[in-house]
Subunit: 748 residues, 2 copies
């Protein structure tokens, strides 16, 4: 362990090697500072956003104080009473501490102290939590993760009343509560504390923050560099099916900052967990920034923490909801508390970007601390600018070389493509290489299912991951990407998947009317190489942009390929014959197929298969270049779902059997709208007359798109060379095309 720390330290920037001397100054110093408190008091009553938040928080805390303190003996999983009560307690203590500082009303300090002493009385003899499911059981909660949440918040509450408590009180609390608490989640739980994972980040932050408050450098060192251990848990899996620890990984907060974030600030587990992890990352960083400014924590890894906030905000739809990449519960958005923290801290320490104020205004609240008053003052002073989201390409992996996620946006989020060509994403990753989802103005057009879980809803499996998360949500067939031979990518095995990642072929958002991203995946199915190129194209003659999707498959043997499109809403019309079954049977036996009913099956009537649907009062048409032998499937989720855990979502699926090397060419075209009030349907039919694969070999692939008036557009790409300067020439149907760079698009 010592050795490991030394090795690691050698990789750190000089600032981090400075001798660790804790500042002795007065409290609060962790998140609030004395100077910040003075500023807040001076401005109070004249900063609308801050004042409104304060009023709301005060009402909440006053109501809790009114109800009285309850620290029940731990018993339940998430969603159950004791779990929710302890959660509420730590949140209320943190708020009460803040109120004490700002309002100087001792009732808040009393409340925090009294509750802390109730915890102190209970904690001394508290055994492990009775629920045994976790790989790292907590004491107040069923898992250390939640215990760590508790300590991150309570450190702040303790900091707020530190000076107000007597030395004897502090001694008792630290001796009987905080130190054993910190020890349990660290020394007693190295399989939790020494991971590179959001769990460990919470643990590290918890121990580090209480250490900073207590002035205990040993705890801070634990937080930054991990604890000694016997490498317990190496190779084992956690509750979510990911490896607890892997060879070569260094423990501690700095390592957690190093590994899961790419240089662009993309967090490898995806935005849902990034949102969750951002809070301990930022709040501990803020504490280090305040107490140990010489560390320069916000400059670490080229300012990755602040970049991560920008990346996260960009991974949201027009309503601010995060794209459910990997495990992600839909509806989570930048309105979450952790994003208020992220935005306020980033604004305060990161150059006061006025676009962040646009988010802060939508959030309608600020932190009640130094950072929040900064934001509220700037908003009051009219500095707000809208946070306009542009197309963005985010690399994945610690070095930015493990694929990534691209988001192509047209206009003011009129059409948004989320294209995933990333690494596995640790234990929360899905087997969905080269998958995508599509949004129109914050509404899903083609969805990513998200996770199979009802977070904190006790009735549904205790609020934890449901087994359908593994049997359905993570499987390849649950996504808008290619499944070969009814088997998931990497056989659905984390051991294999976590060794690989997709590769960017090229990305180009320089022309807003033709934005393209292309990536390859060669490991998901050994012997099969996938290259998927997706373009958002806006033609003058079409009122809306469309998505062109070229999925080139090169395989050394014959396979069955299934390419589903999980549309929302209702089928309008198709241009092929199909039959519907009398009884609904499952599409397959495993790998997610066992959850799909086959609602209909047909064959292409022509070289272009057309599938139209309506969702959210808008029309969409998918046009696919199909072969006569293709099968066209209508599927519906919900089979083998004994607890009704799955939504009854539909897909349109193109199945190509006995095929080796082939190309799937698809256009997804939003068009028109319907009003149930005026009952007028506008532009309700596709504007595309023909879609053709006009050229395909190992060097080039070309697709033509013809509109109803006979105008033809042509998309040509090089399959071998994506360099921008490279000149290409190609003859298609006796016509010469020449261009430079990876692709060329000649508009309609």
């Amino acid at each position: 362990m010592r050795f490991a720390r030394l090795i690691f330290a050698m990789l750190l920037p000089a600032a981090l090697l400075a001798p660790v001397i804790l500042h002795a100054g007065e409290h609060p110093k962790l998140i609030m500072t004395r100077a910040g408190v003075e500023k807040i008091k001076a401005e109070l009553g004249r900063v609308p956003l801050f004042d409104a938040t304060l009023k709301k928080v005060r009402a909440q805390v006053d109501a809790e104080i009114e109800k009285g303190i309850d620290t029940p003996v731990p018993k339940d999983y998430s969603g159950g009473y004791t779990h929710e009560r302890h959660k509420l307690n730590f949140a209320t203590m943190q708020k009460a501490g803040v109120l004490f500082q700002i309002l100087e009303d001792e009732k808040y300090a009393n409340y925090v102290r009294d509750m802390l002493f109730q915890y102190e009385a209970m904690y001394k003899d508290l055994p492990l939590h009775p629920k045994e499911r976790s790989y790292a059981r907590g004491k107040l909660f069923w898992q250390n993760l939640n215990d760590s949440n508790w300590l991150v918040y309570v450190s702040q509450a303790y900091d707020a009343i530190y000076d107000w408590l007597s030395a004897a009180e502090r001694e008792t609390l630290e001796q009987n509560l905080f130190r054993p608490f910190a020890d349990h989640i660290s020394i007693d739980s190295p399989q939790f504390f020494n991971r590179v994972h959001n769990h460990a980040t919470w643990g590290n932050a918890a121990v580090g923050m209480i250490g900073l408050v207590m002035g205990d450098d040993e705890l801070v060192q634990r937080a930054l560099y991990g604890v000694e251990d016997d490498r317990n848990g190496m190779g084992d899996k956690d509750d979510d099916g990911g490896f607890i620890r892997e060879e070569g990984q260094q423990p501690g907060f700095l390592s957690n900052l190093e590994e899961p974030f790419s240089p662009d600030g993309y967090y490898t587990e995806g935005p849902y967990y990034q949102r969750y992890a951002m809070y301990p990352f930022l709040v501990f960083a803020q504490a280090l920034h305040n107490v140990k400014p010489e560390m320069g924590i916000f400059e670490y890894k080229d300012g990755v923490l602040l970049k991560a906030v920008d990346a996260l905000l960009n991974l949201s739809d027009a309503d601010g909801e995060f794209f459910p990449i990997n495990d992600g519960q839909k509806g989570m958005s930048y309105h979450a508390r952790s994003l208020v923290t992220a935005v306020d801290i980033t604004f305060h320490v990161g150059g006061q970007d006025p676009r962040l104020l646009g988010i802060a205004e939508k959030q309608g609240q600020v932190l009640l601390d130094d950072t929040g008053i900064s934001v509220a003052l700037a908003v009051r002073d009219g500095k707000t600018q809208p946070f306009e989201k542009k197309s963005i390409n985010l690399s994945d992996g610690p070095d930015g070389k493990q694929g990534g996620v691209a988001v192509l946006r047209y206009g003011d989020e009129d059409l948004t493509l989320v294209y995933k060509y990333a690494a596995q994403g640790l234990s929360h990753g899905h087997y969905d290489k080269l998958s995508f989802s599509l949004y129109e103005k914050g509404e899903e057009v083609l969805q990513d299912y998200g996770l199979a879980r009802f977070v904190n809803i006790e009735q549904k499996g205790g609020g934890n991951y449901l087994k359908e998360n593994t049997t359905w949500a993570k499987q390849t067939i649950a996504h808008n990407t290619l499944t070969q031979n009814e088997t998931s990518h990497f056989q659905g095995k984390y051991e294999i998947g976590s060794k690989h990642h997709s590769e960017l072929y090229f990305y180009d958002d320089s022309n807003p009317d033709v934005q393209v991203v292309s990536a390859t995946e060669t490991n998901a199915y050994p012997g099969t190489a996938l290259k998927r190129t997706m373009a958002i194209i806006k033609n003058e003659k079409f009122s809306k942009p469309f998505l062109l999707d070229i999925l080139k498959v090169v395989s050394d043997k014959e396979n069955q390929y299934d390419l589903p499109f999980y549309y929302m809403g209702q089928v309008m019309k198709v241009n092929f014959e199909y039959t519907i079954p009398v009884t609904l049977s499952v599409l397959g036996e495993q790998n997610g197929y066992q959850h799909l009913y086959l609602e209909g099956k047909g064959r292409p009537a022509s070289g272009n298969t057309r599938f139209s649907w309506m969702a959210n009062d808008k029309f969409y048409t998918l046009t696919s270049v199909t072969e006569a032998a293709d099968e066209l499937l209508f599927t519906r989720l919900g089979a083998n779902d004994p607890e009704f855990n799955l939504r009854r979502d539909a897909a349109f699926m193109v199945r190509r059997k006995g095929s080796g090397t082939t190309v799937f060419v698809t256009v997804v075209e939003p068009h028109g709208s319907y009003s149930p009030v005026s009952e007028i349907a506008l532009d309700s039919n596709s504007n595309i007359a023909g879609l053709k694969l006009v050229y395909d070999d190992e060097h080039y692939t070309a697709v033509s798109i013809e509109d109803l008036e006979g105008h033809t557009g042509m998309f040509i790409m090089s399959n071998k060379d994506a360099t921008t300067s490279k000149q290409h020439e190609l003859k298609i149907d006796f016509k010469e095309y020449s261009w430079s760079g990876p692709y060329s698009y000649l508009g309609l």
Copy 2:
């Protein structure tokens, strides 16, 4: 015919018998008046709502003028080009006429004239519309209904430019276009024009309005009293399956005003069609009011037209969307154009109720005429009051004696029960006696399916009714009411259903915390009497009100009863064992059952069956008093749906077999909420510990409700006597209860 008119005339109030003398005055006089136009011109630029509407309308019309006039040869069904083009034409002409009057810009008059002459040139030789589906084919459109729409709007356009045209131009238009047009929809189509039906109302208004503009009293008489005919179509059915005409019905506008409206203003077809019909009713009434004020049309039948507007506004949810009673497309709301007309006219002629301004503000537009300027001026002058909807009981039938519809509302539409115990509702009626739907703040909790149609969406059956409207949407099993022996009410036969109606037993909304409606149905299944009593109850200890539903069935033989609840959202938890099938099969062969898959089947585990679900981030629990032999079914819509016309909606269904006289007791309890942002689930479990049928005989039924803390509430009702003054005494479990009136509720 002459005889019929005489008989009918004898029933009319004196004002309507005054000699018909058309006012000779200047145009416009129909909807706009010269005085109104002067007032508008005087206020223009200082009336925000009016000015904004004018600006928008002007932009629309200018854009159309820019595009040029197109009057294509009729060819398509609704949704097709020629249909939509002619619709757009008449709407634009009406608007252009208004703009000419207000702005005095001749380009608008020119546009109307030129388009009218294009129609004149075409109409002379125009055959019947080529599509043959309608029982009354139009010429410009596939049905006379749409031709009538055209003439209602074009009459207004013609009125606007009447004085500006030369006498010769008027002569040509009247001779070649308007008169033959009016003749086609009246004299040539008595099976359409002489009905009591919204179709005929449009026809009557069209002929009457052009008659008023032309000063042709003969046309006005036709409109008011119908045309002579050979009783063609008597007993036949129209496109929707209703009788075209029935014995004893008198034709004409006044008859249409008399028959379908109850004295409370409820329109027997339901709010969706009321919304549709209100426009011709009100616009023709407004025209009669302007041109023939001596008729006192708005006082007719005790002011039924204005009452109807109030009734219609009350038949909407918190978002203003109409309850889909009978055939009704969801999403239609008081934002519809016809409701702008209704609100503006009602405000102008009906006593300037300031609550109507609350609706007008939400509509955000006004009519560009005398009524619209009234509304806009009043809004500008700050007279607006909110339109707060209260509980309301609306009778059905011309005399108010054919059942009705009750809407019980708690708070500010926090919980809304829509309970239907009405007459058949003509051809748009559903077989759903004693059915209900439940809303929480504008969101459906237990839904009424509505219709199976995509109005004006050409891809879906030409935008017309789909066959699933008959095979599913109208059937009893599609509704939250009792189906006996898998057969719909009245065997699903219009001939039988239209002869009967349910009966109100009692209605009491005097106590906002205990509101009750009870009604009976004795004809739906001969030999079986149904009495359904529904109460919205708010207990102090519960944060939300709940619905108590007591459905008492008395039958002379053993039957199978199915009682479904069409919940929205996702199953959370149930308290009984069930199995799910490997393949999904249909629940039955006919009467709607052929469209339902059985997703799961169980038996009660106790005397109380509990079924919890989540919808719109809120929790709900249904608690049902069940018998050990009951079957509990999970159903899913979508079987035998070859065109994917049906939504995949779910129901929880209680099935009781081999039962004669029995009682279904159910509580539907909204509780708590979930936030996907904070991930906190509040109050996610039911607060009800026990529900019991503690007494039931032919005289009394009593139900007890026990909460988690052991408090018990008791609902007792008399089954024989609903008079308010009547005293009752009853001993239940050795305890004496005494009360007066139809029911007693002793709170928890």
